[in-house]
């Protein structure tokens, strides 16, 4: 034990801390006479500085958002199992001096010029807000901005053939929906999961395989246990529908099921309407609780209603569900952290009680949500003209991505690249699971300076008409030269 005496006779917090500390201090020798843990850290002694936080290990950077690992050589990258992490991709990309380099790991929309985009309608809304001298910065209620909550619920649950948000879902009309503003998609998922862990009888959530990298941790830390259901079929680069149904069929009654409302991340593979209907019937027959993650409404197909149809299908049958909404992509409000959690309940009374409990989750987490992004969304959604403008800008983003898909597909076909590349135009949303293997991905990085995660996922948002040919060349070379 490195020369430190750990008392056997008690298990005081100090002792437990000491043990935990010692376990982490590999290679550190501790002279108990001079550096007993009890005395050193906060005593201000001028001896070697031992920290009470010394046992806190340096965590690897977050796979998707982190920016660590500044000096990781590429050759080492190839050998490491976490090469599938976009952050490693971005770091390596940044170090690459080639003018032809292409970063297809990015998970935020980019213009044809490769720049981040702030929507015109968002700028206008922001200008209005900043210029409005009557606006104040008082705390929002714990559940957030009321207007925003109402409008967000209508946006996702609204009626068919929605024209400017009139025509409302019966669930909303009957006051059966509680909507609370949360910190984008992540925050909405976390608050919903915490609520379920405390108040729902079943504590297992089934998530698709694969899914967004953060889902497991969000649910795990909230106190749910996480299982998976089959989803992606690498053989077809499509949906393993039979596997999905089998796995949901064998889930215990009442289990929670995470569903990507549209534009499944990371595969881009969505069920068809017919398949959604079968999923719905199966889930309702087993009382499985749907928890939708809706991060791409309007961004996937360009049509707000089409992208919400999976959710509305479930709500129409009168049953209950949760929906986590994010405005990060469809309004380009990434860093403002705007989202909402809606829980559709059987009765208004239940919804009221559920809301009161959601507040108890939120208050000790961050008290109340940030006002800026929600105010922007609310301003846009409640104004007929701005709403229309938004749908046009949204469609333009979605169309650019769809056009990149088409161009890439055409470029590969034009080169006679072996294989069936139709999945590129069948998949939907920001990401494409190309089907390239990790050797091919590594080859493309080395020879063509194209960066993507080793699972072959590319962000179409990182492509432009100008760079499609380069990518097509690279894929062609990889497929023909690398097994």
């Amino acid at each position: 034990m490195h020369g430190v005496n750990v008392s056997q006779s008690s298990s005081s917090p100090a002792d437990r801390r000491l043990s935990a500390l010692v376990r982490h201090l590999e290679g550190h020798s501790m002279d108990s006479a001079n550096h007993s843990i009890a005395a050193a850290p906060t005593s201000g002694s001028t001896g070697a500085r031992i920290s009470v936080f010394d046992h806190v290990v340096r965590a690897p950077e977050d796979p998707i958002l982190g920016v660590i690992l500044t000096h990781l050589p590429c050759s080492l990258c190839v050998r490491l199992s976490f090469l599938n992490f976009p952050v490693v991709v971005t770091v390596a990309y940044n170090k690459d001096p080639s003018p032809a380099k292409l970063n297809l790991g990015v998970g935020a929309y980019r213009t044809e010029e490769g720049k981040p985009l702030v929507l015109n309608v968002v700028r206008r809304a922001e200008q209005m807000l900043v210029n409005d001298s009557s606006r104040v910065k008082e705390y929002l209620p714990i559940v957030g901005l009321a207007d925003f909550n109402k409008l967000s619920a209508k946006l996702i649950l609204g009626a068919d053939r929605l024209v400017y948000l009139h025509g409302t879902s019966p669930a909303i009309q009957e006051n059966r929906v509680t909507t609370v503003q949360c910190l984008s998609g992540t925050g909405s998922l976390r608050v919903g999961a915490e609520f379920l862990a405390r108040h729902y009888h079943q504590h297992t959530i089934y998530i698709p395989l694969p899914t967004w990298g953060n889902h497991t941790k969000v649910f795990g830390l909230a106190g749910l246990s996480v299982k998976t259901y089959r989803y992606y079929d690498p053989a077809t680069r499509g949906l393993n529908f039979e596997g999905l149904l089998e796995d949901l069929r064998s889930a215990p009654s009442g289990a929670i099921v995470l569903l990507h409302a549209c534009a499944h991340n990371p595969t881009g593979v969505d069920p068809t309407t017919h398949q959604w209907e079968q999923i719905r019937q199966l889930m309702r027959s087993k009382a499985l609780l749907p928890f939708f993650d809706s991060a791409y409404q309007g961004f996937a197909s360009g049509n707000l209603d089409a992208d919400a149809e999976s959710v509305r299908m479930f709500v129409r049958d009168g049953g209950e569900c949760l929906v986590a909404q994010s405005f990060a992509k469809n309004m380009g409000l990434y860093g403002e952290r705007v989202g909402a959690l809606s829980i559709v309940c059987r009765t208004a009374d239940v919804a009221g009680r559920v809301e009161s409990q959601l507040k108890l989750v939120i208050r000790p987490m961050y008290s109340n949500p940030p006002i800026h992004g929600a105010s922007i969304v609310s301003t846009i959604l409640k104004d007929r003209t701005m709403f229309q403008e938004w749908t046009i800008e949204l469609k333009a983003m979605a169309d650019r991505i769809i056009s990149m898909r088409q161009q890439l597909f055409d470029a590969l076909r034009g080169r006679g690249t072996p294989g069936d590349w139709s999945h590129i135009i069948k998949q939907i949303g920001m990401f494409t699971f190309t089907g390239l293997n990790s050797e091919q991905v590594a080859f493309m990085r080395k020879e063509y300076h194209i960066y993507m995660t080793s699972d072959g996922r590319i962000s179409m948002a990182g492509l432009s008409s100008r760079t499609v040919p380069h990518l097509a060349d690279a894929i062609h070379a990889a497929v023909t030269r690398v097994a």
């Binding site: 917090p13 100090a14 437990r16 801390r17 935990a20 009890a38 005395a39 850290p41 906060t42 005593s43 201000g44 500085r49 920290s51 009470v52 936080f53 010394d54 806190v56 290990v57 965590a59 690897p60 977050d62 958002l65 982190g66 920016v67 981040p116 702030v118 700028r123 200008q127 900043v130 104040v136 910065k137 008082e138 705390y139 714990i142 910190l183 984008s184 992540t186 925050g187 976390r190 953060n214 795990g220 830390l221 990434y334 860093g335 403002e336 952290r337 009680r353 009161s356 409990q357 507040k359 108890l360 208050r363 000790p364 987490m365 961050y366 008290s367 109340n368 940030p370 800026h372 992004g373």
Partner: protein, 396 residues
């Protein structure tokens, strides 16, 4: 059905009341003499600058805006402080004070399993909820002495001493909430002595830097005293009150470590806690702070506005004290109102008396007897004095 929040629920009740003399002394948000919310001029200027610049809205890193993290630590310690120079502070942007406390609580739960947090009796109503939800056990140290309406210093020291070694001791950096009672500089030294003797870890909640005395440096002196002793400590900061950024949710958790290496490790683990909670923090408030603190003209203007806010509160304390002394013939000593500091005053009213304040006088306050002086205008001091005197003497 969950009960309404004891603090935030007060404002909701106030809104529902239509009595003409109603007074909201519940939530701690600053009000002008006209009892209007106040957006600082420097904040408006910063927002306009940001709009002109056309900043994008890309995700911040998990740890938040780098420019913000830099200025917030410098504001707290002073840019030339050794902890900053030696890069020993792990700073992560958090969702105001609450969010920053929550990150720290989660860190404690994970890396100091079994360790307790010692919190003052009383303390801000949400502290216990935060530690409960984070799974961190807590117990209390004596703080408020109802007999003197002052600090039970001996009780405080005794309880900190009695706590098991390695306990986290939650301290209010200045303007204790809800009592308004702060230790003197000499008492802070003694508190630091005892914490060092017991190898406890100080954990500061700094929600009022600059807002309490009007001076940023003065209000940070307790934190700096501990840092100067070479201690490791945690500090949660909030810009809700001092920059009036309540709804923007901007704050930070700072962990002062023995070495910069340890600080890097701690920062990385704080990020691991933030990511499954909300991924990355909101940009708007962080940019405002970075712009104000990072621009010397705006920074100076901010200091002036802060002095005005703190000054108004001090003058309203004086007026209330004068009104109480003039109207109350019982000989009760109301000077505690002048001795207390910050937004809040602990009136010493009990639950029944507080209920009388609301039901008879339409004065809304929290049940622990706390009033927010920020919500009081000099015009209403006499009315409030009447209400307090009536509740104190005629209700038990």
């Amino acid at each position: 059905m969950a009960p309404p929040d004891p603090i935030l629920g007060v404002s909701e009740a106030f809104k529902a009341d239509d009595h003409e003399m109603k007074l909201n002394l519940g939530v701690g948000a600053y009000r002008t003499e006209d009892l209007q919310p106040y957006v600082l001029n420097v904040v408006k200027k910063a927002e306009n600058l940001m709009l002109e610049r056309g900043d994008n809205k890309e995700y911040l890193p998990i740890e938040g805006l780098a420019a913000f993290n830099k200025v917030t630590a410098e504001l707290l310690f002073g840019a030339d402080n050794a902890v900053i120079q030696e890069q020993r502070v792990a700073t992560v942007q958090g969702l105001s004070g609450t969010g920053s406390l929550r990150l720290a609580a989660a860190l404690i739960e994970r890396y100091f399993p079994g360790s307790k947090v010692l919190i003052s009796s009383p303390t801000w109503g949400n502290h216990k909820n935060i530690f409960n939800d984070a799974g961190v056990p807590w117990s209390e140290y004596r703080y408020y002495d109802p007999k003197t309406v002052g600090l039970d210093f001996d009780g405080m020291i005794a309880d900190i001493k009695a706590a098991p070694e390695g306990t986290f001791v939650l301290l209010h950096g200045c303007a204790h909430n809800p009592t308004g009672i702060d230790p003197t500089p000499e008492q802070w030294e003694r508190i630091a002595d005892v914490i060092q003797e017991k190898s406890h870890i100080p954990f500061f909640d700094v929600a009022y830097q600059g807002f309490a005395s009007g001076s940023l440096d003065k209000d940070a002196s307790s934190v700096r005293l501990f840092a100067a002793r070479g201690m490791e400590l945690l500090i949660a900061q909030s810009y809700s009150k001092n920059l009036g950024l309540y709804a923007e949710r901007i704050g930070a958790i700072n962990v002062v470590c023995s070495t910069s290496e340890v600080a890097k490790g701690v920062k990385s683990q704080l990020k691991r806690i933030a990511r499954p909670m909300y991924s990355n923090p909101p940009i708007h408030g962080a940019r405002i702070v970075a712009n104000v603190v990072g621009n010397s003209d705006l920074f100076n203007e901010w200091k002036e506005e802060m002095e005005l806010m703190a000054g108004r509160i001090m003058s309203v304390r004086k007026k209330l004290y004068d009104s109480l002394s003039a109207k109350d013939n019982s000989g009760k000593d109301w000077s505690f109102i002048l001795k207390q500091i910050g937004m809040f005053s602990f009136t010493g009213l009990n639950k029944a008396q507080t209920e009388n304040m609301t039901s008879k006088w339409h004065v809304y306050m929290t049940k622990d007897g706390r009033i927010s002086l920020a919500g009081l205008s000099s015009a209403k001091c006499e009315y409030l004095a009447d209400a307090i005197i009536d509740s104190f003497h005629n209700v038990s």
